[in-house]
């Protein structure tokens, strides 16, 4: 499937025949009047901003008649959304763009099934951590057209500031190398992250495993030379079976530290941190059309069974005659 842009006729067809305002997720419709909307009419960025809709009917008409190139709504809730003023709270969001995954095994130059699947695995891991470690539950996943958005609405986190959000990002993606030296009663002990089957060390272990399994000999990583990357690939089967101790001794303890440091700093780009720490960002509206790639931005009910190339392709794509 090639990802061609949608032309204005196709956009109009989509919004007239296929789109329904009811496809917008409830978590947005419920708070419609507190959100700012933004639109991109020409494909040059969302310049039409500060839009507010008093009810779903106004929004429905707007989308029908304007058939925008792209539609967005704020992650923030405002008292005065028209002026982006009176900030109340903001969803906690994570943007996993398949194109920006640090270690991509496909090597394609846009997005393809392979990297989208990889993005899906990453989302899986992040959501597990949000639930299991951080105890959050009001979590929504959206296919964005080129990757995934995770949108969290639990009251405990929608009020926190950018600094707390950035701490959450680091925890989720595994960008701090856990300490391995501990002391007790004056004695020093070694405890590697992979021997700790819970908490942040476990998260880190999972992310590192995911990264190493996707490693490619052409990768470049800060502080990690080509030989080390090749060796990591050579011994990665030990990680499939979670034989971390063997993997580490094959690599050598000092080089192992270099390797996980390199991966930790790459992990920071698993999600787009700028999106997560921005308290006033606008995010692509689920149900709207991503005209750049002709795919539907879609809320995902079941990540397991979701297939972007089946569930997010608008009808007009099948009707194209080329």
């Amino acid at each position: 499937m090639d990802l061609k842009p949608a032309n204005p006729n196709e956009r109009r067809q989509y919004y007239r025949e296929e789109w329904n305002v009811k496809n917008i997720p409830d978590f947005i419709l419920k708070s419609l009047i507190q959100r700012e909307f933004g639109f991109d009419h020409m494909g040059r960025g969302p310049n039409d901003r500060y839009r507010v809709f008093q009810n779903t009917d106004f929004l429905r008409k707007f989308m029908r008649y304007r058939a925008p190139f792209a539609a967005y709504s704020s992650v923030a809730f405002y008292h005065k959304p028209r002026r982006r003023d009176g900030w109340i709270k903001a969803e906690l969001v994570f943007d996993v763009d398949a194109k920006d995954i640090p270690i991509r095994s496909c090597g394609c130059d846009n997005v393809c099934e392979i990297c989208l699947n990889q993005a899906k695995d990453i989302v899986h891991g992040l959501v597990d951590t949000l639930k299991g470690d951080l105890g959050l539950s009001d979590i929504h996943m959206v296919y964005s057209g080129r990757g995934y958005h995770i949108r969290v609405l639990d009251d405990q986190v929608t009020g926190v500031d950018s600094d707390v959000r950035s701490q959450i990002v680091k925890y989720l993606v595994g960008s701090d190398v856990p300490r391995s030296e501990y002391s007790l009663a004056g004695m020093k002990y070694n405890l590697e992250h992979f021997t700790i089957p819970f908490g942040y060390p476990q998260v880190f272990t999972d992310r590192v495993k995911q990264a190493i399994l996707a490693l490619d000999p052409s990768m470049e990583m800060d502080g990690v030379n080509q030989k080390l990357i090749r060796d990591a690939i050579k011994y990665k089967d030990f990680l499939e079976t979670d034989d971390w101790g063997i993997f580490r001794s094959k690599i050598g303890p000092i080089r192992y530290v270099k390797l996980i440091k390199g991966i930790a700093s790459l992990n920071l780009t698993l999600v787009d941190a700028k999106v997560s720490i921005d308290l006033k960002r606008i995010l692509r509206l689920p149900s709207s059309l991503h005209s750049g790639v002709s795919m539907k931005c879609t809320e995902i009910k079941n990540l397991e069974t979701f297939e972007p190339f089946e569930d997010a392709v608008p009808k007009f794509v099948y009707e194209r005659k080329d």
């Binding site: 105890g135 405990q156 950018s162 600094d163 707390v164 856990p178 089957p197 908490g199 308290l279």
Partner: protein
């Protein structure tokens, strides 16, 4: 039995002590018992009778002095402050803690350097005191304080929102499960025991959580409570008619204790040789700031807050502290070249910039918290909400604006004085004045014969490079404007 208030004066026990005292009446009177506790402490070293605190106010200043000296004085001698870890002083110590918080809250407010030092010194003091206790007693105290501080058996991690936001603790240092912070051994074993293979779950608990994490959380929570209390005091003081003169005096004395390291161990101290070598870097001396910087420190009250703080103050403060002779050397550097652990950045540079931002009307970060990210970017650490070594280099460390640029873009800041006539960049003003200020100090302490000559030769050196200096500042600043455009695209 040591009282909880010895660690946390804000605990109920501590509050009782304050209530008992009642009023400020007689607060500066001598307390013979305090003197006798200090002089009878077996670890105490006393060189001079003046070193013995004889009332609440003197004890308060000793607390601050201990912290400042410990941080800055290479010849710091802990035994001179042994009494600070003697729990016999508890009821006096608690009162001086409250006096300090109130004085600082009233006079300087929650975002001041004084507050930061107070909060940090309280943290260090708690650790110091714990360290001197018997292990079992310490453990029990931590346990008890935590119970009071956490108020509940299960704590959701968002309880630590403030600590996380101010980066006092890292989320990745906590052990979390289902949103809850795990501190209790039983709880730990129940949740994780079955998952732990090839290791003894109990010893794993001891290593991962044990005393260390509990202590960390207790200390940080006490620090946060101290900060919150100062904030409260400050808010109340704004509607109060007249602050107590005793508090104002104490506040001034605190400021003096804090400025001491700048005078004694400060800028250019002991810089050897002639004028050719690089300038010594050292703690900032606000006395030497140019008029525009002094003005900006007071806060911007009329528009242009972002540019003043992000583009003007951030480069100036950071270069003045870390790389004052950038224009003379004309070698591009990174912040970490000058400050490898980012200690000065975290403890001196950012606090000053944040202070200036806070003094703006409205306070800059209140409506534009994202400017913190831009400040980090101007320090060379990319667009991130915290400073991390691995991001250094993603952006360039911006050099200070020239006077010309300031007059153009931030005209309300520039109120030139005589020295301004001779320089082209606020940083040169600072470099020049720092010698001047130091010379004056030397003269007033009348033992500076040889030093005086040296200071002068450095001054001359500054003059001779003045021509270059302007040129360099232009070229470096030209680079900067090109970067500016790139950043916007």
């Amino acid at each position: 039995m040591v009282s909880i208030s010895f660690l946390n004066p804000l605990s109920p026990e501590g509050k009782d002590i304050v209530r008992e005292l009642g009023s400020f009446e007689g607060i500066s009177q001598d307390i013979p018992e305090l003197r006798s506790i200090v002089t009878h402490n077996p670890s105490q070293e006393i060189a001079d009778d003046d070193e013995i605190p004889s009332n609440y106010l003197e004890l308060a200043l000793k607390r601050m002095e201990w912290y400042i000296k410990k941080k800055n004085d290479r010849e710091f001698n802990g035994r001179r402050y042994a009494f600070l870890s003697d729990s016999a002083i508890t009821k006096y110590d608690v009162i001086s803690f409250y006096l300090l918080c109130q004085a600082i809250g009233v006079k300087f407010g929650p975002n001041s350097r004084e507050t930061r030092v107070m909060v940090e010194s309280q943290g260090d003091l708690v650790r110091e005191r714990l360290g001197k206790l018997h292990v079992d007693e310490g453990r029990m105290m931590v346990e008890q304080s935590l119970q009071l501080l956490l108020a509940d058996d299960t704590v959701h991690w968002t309880f630590f929102e403030e600590l996380l936001s101010s980066r006092k603790i890292r989320l990745t240092d906590l052990i979390l499960d289902q949103g809850e912070l795990i501190l209790d051994q039983e709880d730990f074993l129940q949740r994780f025991g079955p998952r732990i293979k090839h290791r003894n779950p109990e010893s794993m608990y001891q290593l991962l959580i044990g005393d260390e994490l509990k202590e960390l959380i207790m200390v940080k929570l006490i620090m946060q409570e101290t900060e919150d209390y100062i904030k409260q005091v400050h808010e109340k003081a704004r509607i109060m008619v007249e602050p107590n003169p005793i508090l104002l005096q104490l506040a001034e004395d605190v400021a003096e204790v804090l400025s001491e390291p700048m005078q004694h161990y400060g800028y250019g101290y002991g810089s050897g040789g002639g004028g050719g070598g690089p300038m010594k870097i050292g703690p900032l001396n606000p006395l030497a700031f140019p008029p525009c910087v002094k003005k900006a420190m007071e806060g911007i009250k009329s528009g242009g807050r972002n540019d003043a703080i992000v583009l003007f103050m951030t480069p100036f403060i950071s270069y003045a502290r870390l790389y004052p002779d950038v224009f003379r050397m004309n070698i591009t550097k990174r912040v970490s070249d000058q400050d490898p652990n980012l200690e000065s950045v975290e403890n001196e540079i950012l606090p000053l910039i944040y202070e200036a931002a806070q003094n703006c009307v409205p306070p800059l970060f209140d409506d534009q918290p994202q400017e913190k990210v831009n400040i980090n970017a101007k320090l060379g650490f990319g667009m991130h909400s915290s400073l991390k070594m691995e991001h250094e280099g993603e952006t360039t460390w911006y050099t200070p604006m020239s006077c010309e640029k300031i007059k153009l873009h931030l005209p309300h800041l520039c109120h030139p004085d005589d020295v301004c006539k001779k320089i082209g960049n606020p940083l040169s003003y600072y470099n020049r004045m720092i010698w001047e200020v130091r010379r004056q100090e030397k003269e007033s302490s009348d033992d500076g014969q040889s030093d005086d000559g040296q200071g002068k030769s450095n001054n001359d050196n500054e003059n001779s490079t003045e021509g270059n200096l302007k040129e360099d500042s232009k070229s470096v600043n030209d680079n900067q404007s090109a970067d500016d455009k790139k950043g916007e695209a």
